[in-house]
């Protein structure tokens, strides 16, 4: 009878303290939990953590999968269609003849990559120019005949002279300062030879003159 009561008490006892939060003011010993409840709690916690970890792992897996797919897609896009690749493999000699022999190995991969770039944007429509018009583009047309070793030698020679005469060791000054020394050493000091630089505000002045012309022309046409 006592054992049953003690068991009942023990069963009731952990419930009550479990329901009531332990107060920090008491200096009591921690509550006594029964083995079974403690085990149940630990299992529950373990389950929760396991769920969280599993979800985290799933998430990472998903991300990785998506990235792999993206890379595969890009790689597929980067390569040209099979037909074009085969055509290119047949066509390189035509372009290599135009370039000089020294520059041929450099130019070919660049040329091929240029074509690849063109192929990547098939959607862009190139504007067609009629024969006579010329667009003010950002390109320079050069004669390949002129771009050879002689030009390089000449440029090196000119750079040598320039560095010897006007390089860092020489004691050069600007023409304005040189010719203004006399003005500055005079008894009556005068302004420098190029006191005002004509290039100051050049664009503004040009726009102003153009605008005046336009305004005058409009006035004339309006009054007529």
């Amino acid at each position: 009878m006592v054992r049953r009561r003690r068991r009942q008490e023990k069963e009731a006892a952990p419930v009550a303290p479990a329901a009531a939060p332990p107060s920090s003011e008491d200096d009591e010993a921690p509550e006594e939990l029964s083995f079974g409840t403690a085990r149940a709690e630990a299992e529950a916690e373990r389950k929760l953590v396991g769920e969280a970890a599993r979800r985290h792992r799933e998430l990472l897996k998903e991300k990785r999968r998506r990235r792999q797919e993206l890379f595969a897609e890009q790689k597929r896009r980067k390569l040209l269609p099979e037909a074009l690749l085969q055509e290119l493999a047949a066509a390189p000699p035509a372009r290599a003849d135009e370039r000089s022999p020294a520059a041929a190995p450099d130019k070919r991969p660049q040329g091929v990559s240029a074509k690849q770039n063109e192929g990547r944007i098939p959607g862009q429509v190139k504007k067609d120019k009629a024969g006579g018009t010329r667009s003010k583009g950002n390109y320079i047309a050069v004669h390949l005949k002129d771009e050879n070793l002689t030009g390089l030698h000449q440029q090196t020679a000119k750079d040598f002279i320039h560095s010897q005469l006007y390089g860092p060791g020489t004691n050069r000054t600007s023409a304005n300062e040189f010719f203004s020394i006399a003005n500055k050493k005079d008894l009556v000091k005068k302004a420098a030879v190029q006191f005002v630089d004509k290039s100051w505000g050049l664009e503004k002045k040009q726009r102003a003159t153009k605008f005046t012309k336009y305004w005058v022309a409009r006035k004339v046409t309006n009054t007529l």
Binding site: T150, H153, Q154, T156, K158, R172, A175, F178, F179, Q194
Partner: protein, 692 residues
């Protein structure tokens, strides 16, 4: 006399190119000069230092060395690696032979003028033989060492060559081709200043002394057989760029980066003693920029700098008599006419080296007194800029008097444009179908009725091209001198009525052609000097000629002889001050209303010559003052009439590039102030002055 309204034009932005190298031809008394833009000019010292030939430059051509060889042949070498022979009759580079050594830095001819040695970028010295028929032929390669050969000099006997490089000098034996001696130049410099020493120029004397000038500003004298330094002078803190030795080898001239030139002379240490030493005697400061070329003639020191000036300084001890021979001469502006004026349309065409500019003159509606500046009611307008296509520079250009045709020529192309004036603006159209003529054209002249264009060509011939109205042209005829000549025509003049044409060729012969029958009419008697300007009077058809020794002649074309006025002037002689002018007359114009007035100008003065008045007498004791305009203004009427003479000179507008009479009351003068040129030159070496 008259009052003139003067359009003072100062917006011609001409900047002449700097002088790069020079070569003096001893027997012919000619100086060849190459500029940094590749132009080559030949000055004739016997004809009063007149620039008789000019070969325009090229964008890619750079001439580093010039030399005269085999008498009258001129060779040039540059950074493009070719040795070019210049055809001085046809004014163009004739033959080019590749040196195969890279850019050529220096070239020297031996005393006989039979061999040329070139110093190349790769360090080799090559010998070429001058072929009598034309051109050069490779002979052999001398010893090659690493380091560009910047300067070369032959020993007077022709057996050895001295070559200057960076940090060392070599003496080569021409026969075996081996280096006989190698001298290090960089040893005697304090450690703090140790940088590479560039030997800019070198000279080899017959006594075995090698003179070198380097980038430390030193002039050093070496004994080549022993390889030792005999003497060293530090001439400046900047580089000593050029060196020249006199023929007698007792005097040298050195040019530096700071614009100074110094003369060194071989003088005895004790008066009358045997031992001689090189002493620095005279310093000169004629230039503001680097002096890259010097020449030592028997009587003068000649220097050319990057400030585009050619300075001829006669040595006082060599000059025989006191006179104008002993004067210093400075040439900055070219001896050619670079401005064309369209009188009726009031337009000016400026010729630059690679483009043309067309400007309309401004106008004023106020009047004023003598010396006043009138306000402009309309500013001068820049109407057109024509860029010449291609790397070649422009030989000549012209605009027609009505302003509707512009023509210019480069070495291989001739361009003709039709200009339409619509109110204030203009439109330009190129004329197609230009006749295929032998190019280049050396001078262009438009007839006064704008119907014909005269093109001066080589071998003394002149092409007459008719300009058709809507925009076309047709070749009418080619006029040739009867005797035939190898030289090209460089000056043209046409008469106002369109009947006569005068042409001057390079051999200084003046031929007059009749345009009605297209044949040769007469030849003006030969004179010993070059013609600098000529013009035909509109009413009397007298040909007015000015020569480079400042003589003036008037030749009557219908009568085929000199006029009475001309004979009178020659009998009495021209005034001494008139003959002692530095610059030649480059343009002659006439007053349409007054037949006896002629307008002449040179760089420093403008003169209205009144043929009805007497010429000033040149007698030294009774000499009338030549420039007496300012005194005449203050005299009373009768006193003025006593002192009046034919030459009315105005020195107010200087330096003049062009002056012309637009109508009887209007003058236009194009000036180029020296300060405007100086402001656009490359940076000079700083001169440290106390207190700045």
């Amino acid at each position: 006399m008259g009052e003139f309204e003067v359009h003072r034009v100062r917006f011609f932005g001409l900047v002449p190119a700097g002088v790069r190298c020079m070569a003096y031809q001893h027997n012919g008394r000619r100086l060849a000069l190459a500029r940094t833009d590749g132009a080559v000019e030949v000055y004739n010292f016997a004809a009063n230092y007149y620039m008789e030939k000019a070969i325009p430059g090229h964008q890619t051509r750079s001439v580093e060395a010039l030399c005269w060889a085999a008498g009258e042949r001129l060779f040039g070498a540059g950074l493009s690696g070719d040795i070019t022979e210049y055809d001085l009759e046809r004014l163009r580079p004739a033959r080019a032979v590749d040196g195969f050594g890279g850019p050529i830095w220096s070239m020297a001819a031996n005393n006989d003028g039979t061999r040329l040695a070139i110093g190349c970028e790769d360090g080799s010295v090559k010998l070429f033989q001058v072929v009598p028929g034309g051109g050069v032929q490779f002979e052999k390669n001398l010893d090659r060492q690493k380091g560009r050969v910047l300067c070369l000099s032959w020993h007077p006997s022709g057996t050895h060559l001295a070559a200057g490089s960076i940090d060392f000098i070599r003496v080569l034996d021409v026969h075996s081709g081996r280096t006989a001696q190698r001298i290090m130049v960089n040893c005697h410099v304090p450690k703090s200043k140790k940088r590479e020493c560039v030997v800019w120029s070198i000279a080899f004397l017959s006594s075995g002394t090698v003179i070198s000038s380097d980038s430390f500003g030193r002039v050093q004298f070496w004994d080549w057989e022993r390889g030792t330094l005999q003497d060293s002078h530090t001439v400046s803190s900047s580089a000593a760029l050029s060196l020249a030795v006199s023929e007698k080898e007792d005097s040298i001239v050195v040019g530096t980066s700071a614009g100074a030139t110094y003369q060194f002379q071989l003088l005895p240490v004790k008066a009358g003693g045997q031992e001689k030493r090189w002493v620095r005697t005279k310093p000169f400061q004629h230039h503001t920029h680097d002096v890259r070329a010097v020449v030592h003639t028997p009587t003068a020191l000649i220097s050319g700098g990057l400030d585009a000036q050619l300075v001829i300084r006669p040595l006082m001890e060599k000059v025989q008599k006191k006179g104008y021979d002993a004067a210093l001469r400075k040439f900055t502006l070219p001896h050619r006419r670079l401005v064309s004026c369209a009188r009726k349309a009031r337009l000016l065409l400026f010729q630059f080296s690679q483009h043309l500019e067309l400007w309309r003159l401004g106008s004023t509606n106020k009047t004023g007194k003598d010396g006043e500046t009138l306000p402009l009611s309309r500013m001068p307008e820049h109407l057109l800029q024509l860029k010449s296509k291609g790397p070649e520079h422009i030989y000549c250009s012209c605009v027609s008097p009505c302003g509707s045709w512009i023509a210019y020529s480069t070495a291989s192309r001739f361009h003709l444009y039709r200009v339409q004036h619509e109110g204030d603006s203009i439109s330009v159209k190129k004329v197609p179908g230009v006749p295929k003529l032998l190019l280049p054209a050396y001078q262009l002249q438009c007839a006064s009725d704008s119907g014909r264009l005269f093109i001066a060509s080589d071998r003394g011939s002149v092409h007459v091209v008719q300009l058709l109205e809507p925009g076309g042209c047709k070749h009418l005829h080619t006029l040739r001198p009867p005797a035939g000549t190898r030289e090209a025509v460089y000056l043209l003049a046409s008469s106002a009525d369109g009947n006569w044409l005068a042409a001057v060729s390079g051999d200084w012969e003046v031929h007059v052609y009749s345009l009605k029958h297209f044949k040769h009419h007469c030849t003006v008697p030969t004179y010993s000097c070059a013609v600098t300007a000529l013009a035909i009077h509109p009413t009397t058809n007298n040909l007015f000629i000015s020569y480079s020794d400042q003589q003036l002649f008037e030749f009557s074309i219908p009568e085929k002889q000199y006029t009475a006025w001309s004979r009178a002037v020659q009998n009495s002689g021209l005034h001494k001050l008139w003959l002692e002018r530095d610059s030649p007359i480059t343009h002659i114009a006439f007053n349409p209303k007054n037949t006896s007035q002629v307008l002449l100008h040179d760089v420093y003065m403008l003169c209205v010559l009144d043929k009805s008045l007497p010429c000033p007498q040149p007698l030294p004791d009774d000499s009338a003052v030549l420039v007496n305009q300012s005194t005449l203004k203050q005299l009373s009427e009768p006193a003025r009439r006593r002192q009046l003479h034919a030459f009315k000179i105005c020195k107010k507008f200087q330096p003049l590039l062009f002056a012309d009479l637009l109508d009887e009351r209007c003058l236009v003068t194009v000036e180029r102030p020296a300060l405007d040129i100086s402001a656009q030159l490359p940076p000079p070496v700083q001169q440290k002055k106390f207190g700045t």
